[in-house]
Every structure is written in structure tokens, then in C-alpha cells.
Symmetry: C2
């Protein structure tokens, strides 16, 4: 959309106390309404404080405002909310050198050299995405080769699949790795042919020998990372995120941004464990800070691990690893202890549970504790990937919100089939069953584990197919949700899951004016078209925070 007057751009950009109200018209607006149905509109009036004053439909008379802006027919939807992301991880990833587009070792070395020159202040050069097969190298690259690009600072670069890392000589020195270093169980230090001298590549568990030497990001790097994360998310149409596993270092970065008026993403924070929760928030959740930009809502609890590494806790053995059921990272007694401690302070627990046993224990723990802590608790299970069908009704029965990531289903389906076998997939990524049984779904991405793109998430949610349309007709298509449900999962329901309803998530009077202008209608576009949605502009609290070139 173009501005009618330069003055209006300035007025909004400066966010002056005398900011004026504004009419944005000529849009094809849609939002989830209070009845859970899509509601359409043609114009918004935004108050000078960045909240929505009026939502107009065709035929309504536009009020007199200080400024008017022409939406030029773009589709306006609520700012998308990622109900499960790692904000700082997204930013740190974005600051990292990406080698995935390099086609030869020399091209990679040039790119590494240039990145190091552009980032002189960084004590380590970190990156990812290299692939010696794509380079046609026929072998792993070496530390000596990496030294040709950067020798005076440690460098560590992960392979595209994350299962190997490539270090330069200085990085190995700093990590204390030499010819005497032994490969750990489950890992391998690559050696120079015919010697014990490490050649520079560390496979699987041996990666830890290097990664433990990498210093934690400094505060100024975290500040940069947050700025990057905001850019990445706003570019994807995301205006708010639940931050899963917030540390005090993360929180301080959010506050620094808030204090200087640079926080443009709304962050619903879930602390990385009870000590961080207490250190950050004290005895109770924080208030909403910075005009609803930041709140410490609750606590993230890891009940089990992941399916890929067979760390998810199952009721029965892994189909591809008999005798192994995975295991709880947080045992039943400790889980209940943490839940009680959280509930006593009105903190909202968000329990990571992937496997059937983990989901059952989380659901049962909530049932046991909820009696002692009545009221509006909004217990959350994060992922809820593989649930015993017998346990599915407990989401609704126990008032547990399922916070799920549609793209995990399309990324992981083959792995899930391998881990569980064909007969134990009835409660896998069971979005529709949870809704049908009266439960509530919030949708997210788990970025940076997956791309934060919510349009990919919306498309996966309504199709159960991946970007290539595979498998045809969708994987266990009975668990698809409809378009309204999918959009609600990424807007109003994600807000509800973070105690933010009424503040943001819908385009209704009194809510913050968080919206996205896009180039197609998500209720009408084909799934393939939906994935190609172009975000034109992203607005948070009545201020434009992203505009496409």
C-alpha cells in the first residue's frame, strides 16, 4: 500500500505523543471473529495509541480521521502468531554464515573469508550448511583448507544435516583437540590419512568436543540476534511469538529492546526451567510490558526428548529399536513438583511432550493437579506429536491446550512411520481429533528447528502434504483441519494459548492493530498458492515494521 501523504509516514514512524488516528481502507480484510468464524471487512480505523478503533465493512461510512491510507486492494489478515518458537535461536541462526548455496569448496572459502571480514568483532566465526557431496569433493574438507580462509580466529561450521562440523586449526587448539584426543562413543574425529592428527571434521557425538568450546553469545550479540529474529519473523508476517525456553540472558535482551523502543515483536515468554522462571519473573508472571509487547507467562518443561533421536518417551518399544521406549527427561514426581510450583505462582506450564508415554503422563499430571489449582490455567502441551488415541479425549477433559506445529508432521512423517511402525500412528499429529474431541489447538513452527513461515504451516495444516504435494491426498488426511481452524491456530487460538486474547490475535475494536497485508486470500488460494503467499507489509501496534521491496 502506498501512503497518500509523506506526512503520515513520518507521523507513524516517529510515534509522537501527538500521533493521529488513521483510516486504512480499500483492503480485503479478514479475521477470526469472536464466534471462531471468519469475519470480513474493508477498512480499519487505528487509534493514535495503535489500537483498533473501528472495523468497517462495505457500506459503512468512514469516520473523519487525521490520515487516510489506501490499501490498494491488498488482503489484510491479523498478524500471525507463532505459538512455539525460539526467538533468540532464530536470531542467532540468522547471524550465522549460511553455506548451503555454495557449489564448491573454493566458493565456500571465499564466502567464509568475506563473512569474517564483514564481522570483525565476532570472536568466533560460526556457520552451517556445507555439503561436500554438492561440492563434488568426494571427501570431507580439512582444517588446513579452512585455514586458507580464516586462520586468526576460530571457525566452526556445521554440515547441512547438522551431523558433522568442520573446524579450522585455531578452533581445534582452543578446544584442546590434538592427536591424543579420542573419539567419543557415538562420534568420530576424522584424522589426516595415515596419522592420528585430527583433520578438522567432527562427526555426530564428536561435535560436542568442539561445540563446548564455543563461547556463549555476548549481550551485544544477543541484541543483534533479537533484531535479526524480529526481521525474519516480520518478513514472514509474524507479529507475535511464544518464546519457548527463555533464559535470563534472552529476557534481558528483550528488555533492553523494550527499554529503547526497539521491541517490535510481541513475545510471550516461557522460562527455561523453574530457576530461570523465578529469577526472571519473581513470584508471579510479569505484567504485560511495553504496550503488550512482552510478558513472562510461564515455564517450559521438557518431559521427553525427540522422535528422531529416539528420545521421545513411548508406551511401547520403538518399532525400529526393540527394547527401547525412550525415557522421561523429567520424571513423574519432578514433573508434578514443578507443575505445583508453577501453579502456586499462577505461572502457565508448557510441557514438551512428544511420545505416547510423555503425553499420557503430562495429561495425567495436569488432571491430578488441576483440582488443587482451579481457575483459568490454560495448561499447555507442546508438540503433542504421538498421543495414544485413548489419551486424546484428555486434552479437552483436562483443559489442556495442544500447541502443535503443522510442518513437523510433513517433515517427520517418514521418520514417525519408521519409529512407530504402521499400526501405531492413529494419534500421530492428531490435530482434527483433538478439535473434534473438544480440545483447543494453537499452531506454531518450532523455528529455528523448522522455517518460521506460517503460510507453509497453514498449507500443511489444511492438506497434510509437504511442499511437493507429497503424499498425494495427504498423510492421514482425516487429521487435516479446515482453513478457519488453521488460521485460528496461528492467530486467535495462539493468542488465547498465551493469555493474550483481547490484546492481539484478532482484528476487532480494542485489540492492538497488528496486521499483515498479503497478495492473496488464504481462504481461497490453493494449497500450493498459499505456500507462495507474499507478505507485502507487516504492522505491529499500528506501526509498519516490514515492507516488501
Amino acid at each position: 500500500m502506498s501512503f497518500k501523504f509523506l506526512a503520515s509516514t513520518l507521523a507513524l514512524a516517529l510515534a509522537s505523543p501527538a500521533a493521529a488516528d488513521v483510516l486504512i481502507d480499500n483492503v480485503e480484510g479478514l479475521t477470526i471473529g469472536e464466534d471462531g468464524k471468519v469475519k470480513r471487512f474493508t477498512a480499519l480505523v487505528i487509534d493514535d495509541d495503535g489500537t483498533i478503533a473501528q472495523v468497517l465493512t462495505a457500506g459503512d461510512e468512514a469516520p473523519q480521521t487525521d490520515y487516510r491510507e489506501d490499501g490498494e486492494g491488498a488482503v489484510m489478515i491479523p498478524g500471525l502468531i507463532d505459538a512455539h518458537a525460539h526467538v533468540m535461536g532464530i536470531g542467532i541462526g540468522a547471524l550465522t554464515l549460511d553455506l548451503s548455496d555454495t557449489n564448491s569448496l573454493e566458493e565456500a572459502l571465499d564466502k567464509i573469508r568475506a563473512f569474517a571480514a564483514e564481522n570483525e568483532a565476532r570472536p568466533w566465526i560460526l556457520g552451517r550448511g556445507w555439503n561436500q557431496e554438492k561440492w563434488g569433493l568426494g571427501r570431507f574438507p580439512t582444517a588446513a583448507e579452512l585455514d586458507r580462509a580464516v586462520a586468526d580466529r576460530p571457525v566452526y561450521l556445521q554440515r547441512v544435516d547438522g551431523h558433522a562440523g568442520w573446524a579450522n586449526t585455531l578452533a581445534m587448539e582452543v578446544a584442546g583437540i590434538d592427536a591424543r584426543s579420542k573419539s567419543p562413543a557415538g562420534g568420530r574425529i576424522e584424522r589426516v590419512a595415515g596419522s592420528q592428527v585430527p583433520s578438522g571434521v567432527f562427526v555426530d557425538a564428536a561435535e560436542e568436543l568442539m561445540t563446548r568450546a564455543i563461547p556463549a553469545p555476548r549481550p551485544n550479540e544477543r541484541d543483534l540476534a533479537l533484531a535479526e529474529a524480529q526481521k525474519v519473523l516480520h518478513r514472514n508476517g509474524i507479529t507475535a511469538a511464544a518464546d519457548m525456553g527463555t533464559t535470563i540472558e534472552d529476557w534481558q535482551a528483550y528488555r533492553r529492546a523494550g527499554d529503547k523502543g526497539a521491541l517490535t515483536l510481541r513475545i510471550m515468554a516461557y522460562a527455561a526451567g523453574p530457576d530461570q522462571m523465578e529469577l526472571i519473573a519473581g513470584a508471579r508472571p510479569s505484567p504485560w510490558l511495553y504496550d503488550d509487547k512482552l510478558r513472562m507467562n510461564g515455564i517450559k518443561i521438557y518431559l521427553d526428548g525427540a522422535l528422531g533421536s529416539r528420545g521421545a518417551w513411548l508406551k511401547q518399544d520403538y518399532a525400529d529399536d526393540p527394547g527401547n521406549t525412550g525415557l522421561p527427561l523429567t520424571g513423574p514426581a519432578k514433573l508434578r513438583n514443578i507443575l505445583v510450583r508453577a501453579a502456586q505462582g499462577n505461572f502457565q506450564p508448557a510441557i514438551h511432550a512428544i511420545g505416547t508415554a510423555a503425553n499420557e503422563d503430562a495429561l495425567n499430571a495436569v488432571a491430578e493437579i488441576a483440582e488443587s489449582f482451579p481457575g483459568d490455567r490454560r495448561w499447555r502441551i507442546e508438540h503433542a506429536q504421538i498421543v495414544d488415541p485413548a489419551d486424546l479425549p484428555k486434552f479437552a477433559q483436562n483443559g489442556v491446550i495442544a500447541s502443535m506445529q503443522p510442518v513437523h508432521q510433513t517433515s517427520d512423517r517418514k521418520m514417525a512411520e519408521a519409529r512407530l511402525g504402521p499400526d501405531r500412528l492413529d494419534g500421530a499429529y492428531a490435530w482434527n481429533s483433538i478439535l473434534e474431541l473438544g480440545g483447543r489447538l494453537a499452531f506454531g513452527s518450532d523455528a529455528p528447528v523448522e522455517s518460521p513461515d506460517p503460510f507453509a504451516g497453514l498449507a500443511a495444516a489444511i492438506t497434510r502434504t509437504d511442499a511437493d504435494g507429497e503424499p498425494f491426498g495427504g498423510w492421514r488426511p482425516e487429521e487435516r483441519v479446515n482453513r478457519e481452524q488453521a488460521l485460528a491456530g496461528f492467530t486467535s487460538e495462539a493468542a488465547f494459548a498465551g493469555f493474550a486474547e483481547g490484546r492481539f490475535g484478532r482484528l476487532l475494536p480494542g485489540e492492538r492493530a497488528d496486521f499483515v497485508l498479503i497478495d492473496r486470500d488464504p481462504m481461497l488460494a490453493s494449497p500450493a498458492e498459499l505456500r507462495e503467499t507474499r507478505v507485502l507489509e507487516t504492522w505491529v501496534g499500528g506501526r509498519k515494521v516490514y515492507e516488501a521491496d
Copy 2:
């Protein structure tokens, strides 16, 4: 002062967005002016945002304001600023059981029992102030006696002099103390007569065996402690303090109070070391937060210890301990490293230096580093107690502010004489010399090490005598300062030392309306009268935060 209208009380108490401007007249006002001289006035006009709009003198016509309040002839001075305090320590101390007024063991046990009943949520009962001599007991009390008051929670109570502690049986169990426990060097575990069984009292270094078992305060205790500290300080007429040694836990308590509008004390924070500095503030000092209520200014660095324990670092041996010169807690190289790191981020260093060698090294370190970091740095030395006269000119030469505590001089003079001998006191508590040589002084209390009462500080500053008027004529009276200098040290100069000039510290237009109404004129009262000053009301940012009964 009484309010003319109840409505005005309500308007201010509610601090509503529609707060009005107010005239406070009929006061005998005084402030340090921009020329460093006392400036007198008769009325203030406070804007609706809590800043001073006008300062009126006799004959000025009062403007039209929404409210008018009659000062009833009280003396109005700027809110006093404590340039060196430990805010959380004051609060935690105030929450601790005080046994100093008990006259018998039974009276103490009754008081302990009652305190435990009133503080059911506290996991430990902590206190101080007992004195078996005053009780006429003729021996130390025992754990068994303490168990009669509280047996089901650990109890630990420090003796009045801090050199012994009294535990109950459960506290010793929790600390793992039993008949096999050995007394450490420099300490003694008292034993039941004729046995090795600990009797419950731990002397000097043995105290550590108990105190290490006491859990750190929980966030809700810190929140309570901050509220208490604010009460204690406002009751004493203090509206702002430099917090020396702020930890992340302290900072979070300050922010929680700020976030909910409960921060009434202005806190200029100096982090407890480089890691805390970086964790709290990131790469740069925080902005002024909550309408100038909170800022992370810089870093507290402990260069040496204290005179009493002979930990202060001297150029020559202790007169009462030949061969001992004390020692630096932070060596010269590390000091310079920290100063550079702080200066790179524009953090203000506040260097604790007590002894002659420590002060010389701090002054020299600043001289070496200041060349590389020009600009308005306001390097601070905290305490600056015993300075080699040859080094005194370096305060002014190197632009170092001396942040000193007048009451330390009156409390410590006999100890200083013992530690240094009569011939090495020329640069001891040398307030006037530092001023005469062109340096700047900020005054504080070091509370809770000393009482936070700034009127005791003002009286000590202008007399060099203690509350009993000892020694007659003052100790080294040539180092007295005049009344203007003393008041400036506790107001405008303390603000300058915290980069707060223009925000608070003076009663001038544009500054925050932080003031105290008192019952006598500090420029005219005798020193003894000055010590008896009664604080009638304390106001911060145009809001009353304390009123005497």
C-alpha cells in the same frame, strides 16, 4: 503540611493520567543552586508529570494551578541522595528479627517465637542483635534453649557485634554440623561442657559453617525487602540512592517494582562485577527507566578490603600488625582490565578503595586509562578513606569523584588511629582537602553497614564529631566541610556522581519534584539539633511517599 482539599490528596495518590498541576506554598525552601550556593524559595509549582514547573520566592505572583497546598511553614529541602548504599541489604536487614532490645534470654525467646509465628512462610528464621552480657547470662546461650522457641524451622541469630552466631538444633543439622565438625582457623565451635557436641554458638570464622547453609533470599523475599528498604530510606528523607554491587537478582526486584509502579526510590545501580554488569545491562548502560527511577550506571569494583579486618591495602605495615600491609582483592592488571572493559561500554566504574595503596593504585589506573577514554567519565572511588597526602591532588587531576561516608569517620576514628598510628592520619577521611584541591565529593551512608540517616551524615560532615559530641572540637577538624558543601554532597553532588544532574538533586525548574519537608533549617540548626531533624514528609516525582504520624 495538611491538604486544603481531600480531592488533591486523592488526585496525587491515584496519579491518574489526568493529574493536575499543584502549587505548594508557605514553605521555607532551600536547594543547592547551579552555582553550588544555597538558594532559598517559598513555593514550588509541580507539573502534572511530577517535574518542577516553577520555583517561587517571596513577592513572586503564584500562578493559577488546579490545586494548592499549604506547606504550613515547614522547611523544604531536596530529596536526599545516598551516594553509597546497599539497597537490598537495607531491606533484608529490615526484614530480619532484631533482638538488640531484649534484656533476658526468656524475653529473647518470646520475641523469636512471636517472629516465627508472624513469618510462617520463611524457610529460615534469621536475626541479629543478641547480647548474653546484657541478658546477665554469664555464658553463651545454647541450641537447646533456642529449640524451646523454634524447633521445626532452622534458626540462626547473629550476636550484636556480628562476631558470633547462635543456631538451633535443626539449623546445625541442615548445615551438617555435629560432634565431628572441627573449628576452622580463626573460628571456634562452642561445645557442650565435657563433650564435643556443638552447643549452638559459632564464633568468628566458624560462623561461615552455618551461614553457607542459609538459602539465598527468594524473589518474593527480595520484593518484600525492596519495599522495606524504600520505607526505611523515605522515612529518613532519602529519595535516591546509588546501589553499590547490584546483582541480577537485585535488578530483577527493582524492575518488578518498576513494572508495577511500586518503585518509589530512584536507584543508580552499580553492578556487582563485570559479568553481572553485562548480564544486566548488555553492551551499554541502561537508559533511565520508569521516569528516572532506575538506571544501570556502571560497575562496582572491590580493590581492597576494610580497615577493621586489616584487609585495606596500605603502602606501609599496619601500625598494630607489623609485617601486614593488607592486600589488593583486585590486582593491578585485573583492575585495569576491568576499567577498560567498563569504559569501552561507557559504564561508570566505582572503585572501592580504603587503604593508601588501594587509593594510589585506583588513582593511577584511572590516569593511565583516561587518556584512551576521553569524555565525561566520572570515575568514582568509593570510601577513599585513607589516602596518602601525596595522592590527594590526583582526585582533581584525574577527574575522580570521591564518594565518601561522613559517619564512617566518626564510627571508625579510634580504629583508624590503632591501625595507622598517630602519624599517618593526614589523608584520613580528608573531605576538605579533596575539595580544596579541586576535587568533588559525593556523600552517602554505606547502609546497612551504617544507619542510612543523612542528618547524622550532615552533622558528622560539618563537625567531625559523633552523636555524643566526641571528640570535643572534632577529629582532625580541618577536614570538616561547610554546610553548603555537606548538603551538596547529599544532593546535587550525589546526583552528579550518578549522571543524574538535571534530573533530580536540586529543586529547580525541569527537575523531578523530589523533596523532603523537615522541621528545622539544616543551615541554621546546631549540629546536635541537626541530628534530631524530623522528616515530616518525603515526596518523589511530585508524589508523597512518606508522611510522619
